[in-house]
Subunit: 395 residues, 2 copies
């Protein structure tokens, strides 16, 4: 019993954490509860129940299946479901008519073959990447509805009556979901994608801000573990591709809201995301040199430290400005200045390395510093590309 | 009309491509068609139709929704659906009984509140990452069934009869799906995960194999664009995390098959995958130096070329051996030898850089070669970790 209690306490604290992480999760749960309750009571009270009969349960089913966290996902599923049901329903009735033509003995064969072909072809269609991304759910519902209608052994008028009722109830369920989803504290996938790009840039900026000091620290400075950990936030950016693509697909379903038009250039967001990841890969390589305990010879330190710190800091500032300009959706020239500074620092580094000759230390000792310098130049290049992509987004 | 034809031709060629890429897609489509046809004919022929009535359509619905590409996904969904329906059905009947107790006027309120609470709480439960990964579908079906049963205004014996029929039909649909999925050309998620790890390692190996020659090419050697392109195959490894996690979740549902036990250490596969990605990040940094046109001074070339080529080649061979040992599921010592060679090459590089003093060239010119050397040492470290993880998997 003690163990049970500690399990419950653990779950409760975990739930609290999830709720605090993103309060919209709690709101979403209540919204789902609300939508289902509304539809259930529709179903429960007699007038509607008499009208729709058993079909009314399709309304509850639709709400449970269609209601998703973001508006885009809900709209996408709702529209997919509605259109697929309508089209498949009509075709199913047609198939049912055709199957009766050749006579009663052939009917099961005709139906069996039709169902087999439709199910196979549409299942295969789900493998097309473009269909998969936007219409996967619609294809599933198409197969489902077509098979149900064409197989059902009803008489003609009953089939049409059934199809009609099902459409109405699915419409009620879908409309309730979409209404609750949009008008009560909506969670927009587009907003999320937008914010995620900014947050990811800020994570990279945090790393670059701390990197210079951390790498060139003199041996007597104490290592603050906490600070190290905060630098590692960028790791999540490395695997951000899947989330971004999903969010962009949802966002494409969303109507105009807040500062976003209906045909907001979501694909451009994906390009910006790709540039951010490219930066993150270079930063991942840089991170490998943070943990090694380097003794940087004095001469090389003098040659590169200042420029490297400058590159790192300026890139960090540029990324922060870019993140801010994404957040506020303004075109900022402050980022350009920082990018320019970073470029100049890279140039000065190069000329500083060009002039001096190196005579006094082992090559092995200077490698880490030179590698870091070289990788930072890569980061500067990435930042330039990123800044261009963000500007393109702003226009 | 011409445009329509070209569209059709384009779609057909695309479909052929998809089919050739992975013929299991065609098999899967036919399997889905077969399973639905079997269940439909169950439904169509009168004896069963009389017994189950309208509930029989739940069998078709279950097949369409549960049948997935891999055995693991299908089993996972089927088990989730069956258990969730059973539990939610019982609780729904209980809730229905309780709701009647306080009298007829209060009934809608009691039902409304119960439905709201259950739907909200279980929707929130879907946010727990562990539940999301394995039981997401079960939670949806739980909400669905509970709401349908507790809301339906049937008399008691009808509710139980309905629940019984629905369970039977869902069982028929689920069993048909699982049977067809497992016994006709099964596609195992575990196999896919297993092969993906090996393929990913081979992609990295291909890069490392070509890298040495490509980077240290003398200026008169012609650049072969085709070869360049083949080196870039590793890029897909960078974003492999999502796929691997999904496959591992599916694989956990799969029974013993081929060379895999029921509790195969799938989590260890994820660790190996993480090490592979770590390698890929270093390789991404290396790749940046392939495209720049470097003139490597003779002295530094002499110092590092041999060791770098050795490190790159030996890592490549080690990765290939590791991929082979994963494919054949044997513990191979050949990889160890190559890893050792690579480590030794890294050591020789270090000592070669330690002894010589550098007097004759600009620092700027030697940076690319030194950076590449340093990154290759990182790759060697990754390979060592990877090899350990693979060996751990083999035990």
């Amino acid at each position: 019993p003690l163990k049970v209690w500690s399990n419950i306490a653990h779950t409760a604290s975990k739930a609290k954490e999830l709720g605090q992480d993103d309060p919209r999760r709690i709101i979403h749960s209540c919204k789902v509860g609300l939508a289902i309750t509304i539809v259930s009571l529709f179903y429960y009270f007699n007038p509607l129940y008499d009208g729709f009969g058993v079909s009314a349960m399709w309304a509850v089913l639709t709400v449970v299946v269609v209601f998703e966290f973001s508006v885009g996902a809900t709209l996408g599923k709702g529209v997919n479901r509605a259109i697929a049901t309508l089209v498949a329903g009509s075709l199913g009735v047609a198939a049912h008519h055709l199957a009766v033509l050749p006579g009663e003995t052939a009917e099961p064969f005709v139906i069996g073959i039709t169902v087999f072909l439709v199910a196979s072809v549409f299942t295969f269609a789900r493998f097309f990447p473009k269909l998969k991304a936007r219409y996967d759910y619609g294809l599933v519902i198409f197969i489902l509805t077509f098979c149900l209608i064409s197989v059902s052994g009803y008489r003609d008028d009953e089939v049409i009556d059934l199809a009609h009722k099902r459409m109405s109830t699915i419409f009620i369920g879908g409309a309730t979901s979409i209404f609750v989803c949009i008008f009560i504290y909506p969670a927009w996938a587009g907003d999320d994608l937008h914010k995620q790009l900014a947050t990811n840039m800020e994570k990279l900026a945090t790393f670059l801000q701390g990197f210079g000091d951390e790498f060139f620290k003199t041996s007597d400075s104490t290592i603050v573990e906490d600070r190290r950990a905060s630098l590692q936030a960028y790791k999540s950016v490395l695997n951000s591709k899947g989330t971004e693509e999903t969010l962009a697909n949802f966002a494409k379903w969303e109507p105009r809201h807040g500062r976003f038009r209906y045909r907001h250039p979501w694909d451009q967001y994906l390009k910006v995301g790709a540039h951010i990841r490219q930066c993150a890969y270079s930063i991942e390589a840089l991170n490998g040199y943070l943990n090694s305990d380097n003794q940087i010879p004095y001469e090389i330190r003098e040659k590169v430290q200042q420029h490297c710190k400058k590159m790192s800091t300026e890139c960090s500032l540029a990324l922060k400005e870019l993140a801010l300009s994404i957040r506020t959706m303004t075109r900022s020239s402050a980022a350009d200045a920082h990018v320019l500074n970073a470029k100049n620092a890279a140039k000065s580094l190069k000329s500083s390395l060009k002039t001096g000759l190196w005579v006094n230390a082992e090559l092995l000792q200077i490698i880490p510093a030179l590698t870091v310098a070289s990788l930072l130049v890569e980061v500067v290049t990435c930042s330039v590309n990123l800044s261009e992509a963000v500007h393109e987004l702003a226009t």
